[in-house]
Amino acid sequence: MSDNTKQNYLNHPKGIMSWLLTLDHKRIGLMYLVSGILFFFMGGLLALVMRFELAAPGNDILSNDLYNNAYTLHGAIMIFLFIIPAIPGALGNILLPLMVGAKDVAFPRLNLASFYIYSFGALFALYTIVNGGVDTGWTFYTPYSTQSSSNVVPMTLGIFIIGFSSILTGLNFIATVHKMRIPGLTWYKLPLFVWALYGTSLVQITATPVLAITMVLLMLERFLGIGIFDPALGGDPVLYQHFFWFYSHPAVYIMILPAFGIISEIIPVHSRKKIWGYKFIAYSTLSIAFIGFLVWGHHMFTSGQSVFSQIVFSFITYFVGIPTGVKIFSWILTMYKGQVSFTPPMLYALSFLFLFTIGGLTGIFLGAVALDIHLHDTYFVVAHFHYVMQGGTIVAFLGGLHHWWPKSFGVMYNQTIANIAALGVFIGFNGTFFPQFLLGLRGMPRRYATYDEQFVELHSYSTFWSGILGISIFIAVMNLFWSFIKKNKVDPGSNPWGGMSLEWTHTSSPPHPHNFEEEPVLQHGPYDYDKVIVEKTYKK
C-alpha cells in the first residue's frame, strides 16, 4: 500500500462541520452505525423490561398500559429505527462503493439527505416515547389504531418520514451498483454482499411507497374520519391489513437480505475457500426479493379472507423458502476443503447458520394454514420472527461489524472477549426464545401483559436467559467500541482475515477519504482462494 496513510476518512477533513455536512459515504455510514446502535440499545432495554415483567404472571413492575406501550415501542424502534435503516445504512454505505471500486455512491448529497431524513423521522418516534407512548403494536391494526387515544399520529408520521430515507438510500445503491463499477467488474465478479444490497434496494424502492401511503391513509383516517378502514363509515379494517402487510412482508426481506450478504462474505473469507454456488446465491437473492411481494396474506390466515386467498398465499409462501434453503446448504458446503478459522466473525456466521435455520424451518409450520390457525398470534410466532430477525439479521450484523471493523476504523478489538461474547449471544438467545415455541404451542397468546399460571415456568426460563443475551450483546458491542478508546491501531495496509474483494486489497485501513488513490484494476474475483494466496496481515 502507499505511504500516504496518515490521511484517512476519519481524520480528514477535520472539524465538526465537515462531519455534519459530509458527503463521504464512509462518514455517513458511521453516523448511521452510531444512531443505529443507540436505537438498538433502546429497543433492547425495552425488551429486557418486558421480559422482567413477564417473569411472573401478574402485573409486577408494569401496569397493562405501560407493558402495552413497551412492546409497541420495542417493535417500532427495532424495526423502523434500527434494522431497516441502519444495517444497509451503516455497512452498506461504508462498503458498497469500496466493493465496486467507486469513489463514492452515485448521489452523495442525496445520501446525506437520507441520513438527516432518517434522523428527523426518528425524532417523531422518540417524541412519542416521552409523550406517553403508543400501544397499538407496531402493526397499527384498525380500528383500534384509529380510535386509540395514544400517540398514533406522531409515530406513523415518523415512520412515513423514515420511509423516504429508505427509498432514497435504495435509489442511490441501485444506481451505484448499475453505473459505477470499475471496468472489468462484471455482475458475476461482484461480492455477494453487493448482490444482497442490490436486492434489498429493489425491495426498498418498490415496497416502501406502499407503506408511505398506508401510513398517510391511517393518519387521514384519524384526522378526517375518511372512513376507509372504519366499518361504521362503510370501510373495511381488513383492507388496512392488506395494505400494511403488502409492505411489511417485503420489509422482512429488506431486513434479512443484507444479513445473507454478510454471511456470504464472512464464510468464504474465514474458510479461505471459494464460495459454493455463487450464481445460485445471487439468483436466489433476486427471487426472494420478487416472491416476497406475493405472500403477504400469510399474516392474515385468521382474518376471514376467502378460502381461495388462503390457498394461494400458503402455496406461494412455500416457494419463498426453497431458495433460502439452497443458500444455507451453499454456505455450509463452502467450508468443504477450506482452511477454517474460528474468529469472531466466523463464530457469528456459524451461529447464524444454526439460528436462522431454526427460524426458517419454523416458518414452514406457520405456512400450513390449518396449523397456523392454532399458532397465529401466539408466542410461536414471536419465537419464529426473533429467530430470523435477531438470530438471523442481528447475529449476522454483529458478525459483519466484527469482520469489517479493522477495515473501517483501522483498529482491532480483543478477539478473545469477542469470541466469548459471541458464545454468550448464541446461548442466551436460544435460552430466551426456544421456550417461546413451546409457550405458543401450548396456547400462550402474544402481546399479553399478564398471563395464566400454567405458563409461568417457560416464561421464567425465557426471562433468565434474556438477561444473559442482553449482557452478551452489550459486551460484544462495547468491546468493539473499546478498540477505539484503547487505540488498538492496525497497520493501514493490513488484511487481518485475508479478504479478496476490493475493499480488502485496494484500500487502506481506514480508507483514504476518496477510497482509492489510483483507480483499482481488477486482478481476481472476490473469492478466488483457489487461484491466489492472500496473506493475513496485521501489525499493531
Partner: protein, 324 residues
C-alpha cells in the same frame, strides 16, 4: 411415544380435527429436525475437519463450488417436503372451514374486554361458552368495537372478530371439561385479561342447562346472586374486591364510601347510593370517576332488573364484611 410428545407440546386434543393438526405438526417437526441435524452436523463436521491448524501454511484451496447432484437434492427434497405440507395443510384447513349441516349455532360477540355468547334457544352468558360434546358447534363471531380474536387452544381453532362483519368457525368437542378461551388480537388495556372458559357438557346435560338458562338463579338471595354475577358478568375484569385499583375503581372502595360524595372527571359529583350504582352500570359514560378512563361498556340489555338489584346488594355487603 407420540402421545407423550403430543402431551408435551400441545394442550389436550378436544376437537375432532385436533389430532389431524397435531399430526401435521409432527410431520413438519420430524422433517425439520432431520434437516436441522443435517445442517448442524454439516457445519460442525466441515468446520472442524477443515480447520486451519496452528502453524499450517496458507494454501490454495479447492475450486469445487458446484455439484449438480447436490444442488438438485437441495431443491428437490425440500420441495417434496413442503408440497406434502402444503397439501396436508390445505386439506385439514378445508375440514375446518366447511361447517357440518347439523351444527348448532352460537353467536359470539367480543367487546373490550369480555365475551358475550347468545344461544340458539335464547339466553346469554358472559365469559362462559357452554357447548354439548360430540355435536358440531358453529360459532358466528363479531365484535362490538375493535378487532378481537377468539382462540380455543384445545380445539386448535381461532378466528378474528370484526366489527360490522361476521366470521365463522366450528368445532366438535369430544371430551367434557372446562377449557381456556383467549383473545388473540390486541384490543387495548385489558387485552390480556380478556379470557373466558368453554364448558363442554354431555349432550343431555347441555339440553338441561340450555332450558334452564336464565332461571337457575331465581332462588338465590340477592347478595349471593350478586357475588356470583361479579365473576359471571365479567365485572372482575376491571374491578377488584380488595381495594386495589384496576381499570376501574375497586368495589371495596365504592362500598366503603357508601353515602359519601364521589367526584367525576368533569368536576361534578354524586352521592354513592343505589341509584348511582344502577346508572353507573347502565350508563357508565355519563359519570366517569375522576382519575379513571372512560372505557366501561354499558350493560344495558345484559342484566335483568333482578340482577342489577343483586349487584347493588352485593356491593353493600363488601363494606360490612371488611369491618368484621
Amino acid at each position: 411415544m407420540l402421545d407423550r410428545l403430543t402431551e408435551f407440546f400441545f394442550p389436550k386434543q378436544v376437537s375432532t380435527f385436533a389430532s389431524d393438526i397435531d399430526n401435521l405438526y409432527f410431520f413438519i417437526f420430524y422433517s425439520s429436525v432431520t434437516l436441522f441435524f443435517i445442517v448442524v452436523f454439516g457445519m460442525v463436521y466441515l468446520s472442524i475437519k477443515y480447520r486451519h491448524r496452528k502453524g499450517e501454511e496458507l494454501k490454495l484451496t479447492s475450486s469445487k463450488d458446484h455439484s449438480n447432484l447436490l444442488e438438485s437434492l437441495f431443491f428437490i427434497i425440500p420441495l417434496i417436503l413442503v408440497s406434502i405440507t402444503f397439501v396436508w395443510g390445505i386439506r385439514s384447513y378445508l375440514k375446518m372451514v366447511i361447517v357440518p349441516d347439523d351444527a348448532i349455532e352460537i353467536k359470539v360477540t367480543g367487546q373490550s374486554w369480555f365475551w358475550t355468547f347468545d344461544y340458539p334457544d335464547g339466553g346469554t352468558t358472559l365469559n362462559e361458552l357452554v357447548v354439548p360434546s360430540n355435536r358440531p358447534v358453529k360459532l358466528v363471531l363479531s365484535s362490538k368495537d375493535v378487532l378481537h380474536s377468539f382462540f380455543i387452544p384445545v380445539m386448535r381453532s381461532k378466528m378474528d372478530c370484526l366489527p360490522n362483519r361476521y366470521n365463522v368457525m366450528w368445532f366438535d368437542a369430544t371430551k367434557e371439561g372446562v377449557y381456556d378461551i383467549f383473545c388473540t388480537e390486541y384490543c387495548g388495556t385489558g387485552h390480556s385479561q380478556m379470557g373466558a372458559k368453554v364448558i363442554v357438557m354431555k349432550p343431555a346435560q347441555y339440553d338441561d342447562w340450555a332450558s334452564e338458562l336464565g332461571s337457575e338463579d331465581d332462588d338465590l338471595p340477592l347478595d349471593e346472586l350478586g357475588a356470583k354475577l361479579y365473576t359471571k358478568k365479567a365485572c372482575n375484569t376491571c374491578h377488584t374486591l380488595d381495594g386495589s385499583a384496576l381499570v376501574g375503581p375497586s368495589y371495596l372502595q365504592t362500598s366503603q364510601m357508601w353515602g359519601q360524595e364521589r367526584v367525576f372527571d368533569d368536576g361534578t359529583s354524586s352521592i354513592i347510593d343505589d341509584n348511582y350504582i344502577r346508572s353507573s352500570i347502565l350508563e357508565p359514560m355519563t359519570q366517569i370517576v375522576a382519575g379513571y378512563q372512560g372505557v366501561m361498556p354499558t350493560y344495558q340489555g345484559l342484566l335483568s332488573d333482578r340482577e342489577l338489584d343483586a349487584l347493588i346488594a352485593f356491593l353493600k355487603t363488601l363494606n360490612e364484611d371488611s369491618q368484621i
